[in-house]
Symmetry: C2
Subunit: 144 residues, 2 copies
Amino acid sequence: MLIGLPNALTPDLLRHLRAMGHGDEIVIADANFPAESCGARIERLAGIDATAALKAILTLMPLDSYVDAPARTMQVVGEPDSVPEIVAEFQKIIDETADKPARIRGVERHAFYKEAQQAYCVVQTAETRLYGNIILSKGVVAPD
Amino acid sequence: MLIGLPNALTPDLLRHLRAMGHGDEIVIADANFPAESCGARIERLAGIDATAALKAILTLMPLDSYVDAPARTMQVVGEPDSVPEIVAEFQKIIDETADKPARIRGVERHAFYKEAQQAYCVVQTAETRLYGNIILSKGVVAPD
């Protein structure tokens, strides 16, 4: 364990977060997500839900202010404007924890998979709520 | 880069710090130290001196309160009671940064090498001041 860091940030996840640069993306995925098919680096957080993972990651990772939507979730199939409860919870966590404001944008399911395949890594959580997936783009830390 | 974390904590060093458990040891070594002979995991911090490395590591890593001396340096050969300037600086950093008080203990040179061989990892810095080496024992983070 380390002082002040959430335990959900495992050794490999911490390494990935630090290794990522500006514009690199990380997927926080639910337990049903096809993570292995994405081909990216995969870190599994047994026993951690997607909201706890999001909160832990946002304590360290800046969001990208150079893109319109540094946080994207998967649209409900057939109901693109519906907002699942877990997505509302993701938004609340971003509002409370992220280093800068960001509105979540919904992405069509298969487009979401394509984006995930380009991500630097996928964090597969124990989340069982459907649509518990979010892609984050990493931003910059400015000089002091 | 990550929010609030010193840049000296590279991806692999962060991973090592998080992977270490209670009682595991890390060596912060100067540029002359025989790191490769230690056989441990080695992380090289080009351009970072030993004092900056110590300060960065202590921002995250708790010191072990279960041992008498969780911080040990190498005694000056032939002058075991002499305190090199850099060791005095190490002590100041511990006093100001560590999660708990600790007095540095000097260890005879070859005994220091033996201890280093048992460490979880060696961080080889760009430190050119002689005797710029310190071994730290990792402590525990208590529940909130």
